[in-house]
Symmetry: C2
Subunit: 194 residues, 2 copies
């Protein structure tokens, strides 16, 4: 078998990730991946012999650390809390805007497609959101320690929900508003503590 | 043409709505609707001559007032604010639990499936979230008036995001936590006002 063109593997995975961000599991069909990546069909089966489940798992493995890094760079920066929270939502807005508001979180989109047959994928997506929340928690040291973990999960929920609104409004406004709401929430926790 | 069995129209729409809540636009294919509703193929084309776009639009028209009523019954009840907020998230948890955590908001699931060709549907879904936020706003009269509208949009974002988490954790916990976070947020707004 001839060796597939260099870079085909990466191109296939990046295309799968874009499709997951656009429309979840159902959007990332093998034919669509081949068409959009312009990869030869053979290279898809060469690199991903287990088919779609392998492709999706590897695309999510590519995605998970990127968003973890985005959360870390935004929240662990040493700036004041309000500014760090804004940075996280604004970075998310920037990514969505660059994709004309047609891509959002791959995990959110996959979550809303899961059927009873997708148990391994569900557990994987759950673990990814938990990982992101852990990274966020470490970036919120000002918050009262009893509240840091639920606050970080709240931040993740809000990021997911605001992305739904941003796709519908095709605007950064829902993300700006979510940042303001999370700032008010964090401020309330600090006031209650004081 | 023989008249389709009475009730077939309703059954087709309810099935479409379940499929939208399970997996968004891509899950609600005509063949799947026919298979799951056990409706004769002819009755689908009889009642929905424009096909899938009509089916989805009518299913969302069925869904919109149901969730508006759920928000209204939860938030407009005359109980204290904390209890009303809890009621909204707990009613949502109850619906998801009844569907074994495999169904969530139809609008959220559709939003994360939209492509550039779905402009009318995008605008429709945007209007539904706006309607729900208006209903929520009217149910939050304690909040400082300048904050009521953004707080209501925040509530809608959080409901959507917490449903993503609940599908992944297959548990009411994310909805319970979201209720607590929204209560803390609302409390913070009231403290800031005082």
């Amino acid at each position: 078998m001839p060796r597939p063109a260099s870079g085909a593997r990466e191109r296939i995975l990046e295309t799968t990730l874009v499709l997951l961000r656009e429309g979840g599991l159902s959007a990332a069909g093998l034919n669509e991946v081949i068409a959009r990546s312009a990869a030869p069909k053979g290279s898809l089966y060469h690199y991903f012999p287990a088919g779609k489940s392998q492709l999706v798992a590897e695309a999510l493995a590519l995605y998970e650390p990127r968003i973890a890094a985005l959360i870390e760079q935004s929240l662990h920066s040493g700036h004041p809390l309000s500014r760090r929270i804004n940075a996280l939502f604004m970075q998310t807005a920037k990514r969505m805007h660059a994709a004309q508001w047609r891509q959002s979180c791959a995990v959110g989109a996959v979550a809303l497609d899961l059927t009873s047959g997708d148990e391994a994928l569900r557990a994987r997506c759950e673990a990814i959101l938990r990982h992101w929340a852990n990274v966020a928690e470490a970036g919120l040291p000002e918050l009262p320690s009893a509240h840091a973990a639920p606050a970080a999960r709240h931040l993740v929920a809000l990021l997911e929900g605001a992305q739904i609104q941003a796709r519908l409004r095709q605007s950064a406004e829902p993300l700006t508003e979510a940042a303001a709401a999370f700032r008010a929430y964090a401020h309330g926790l600090l006031l209650a503590e004081a």
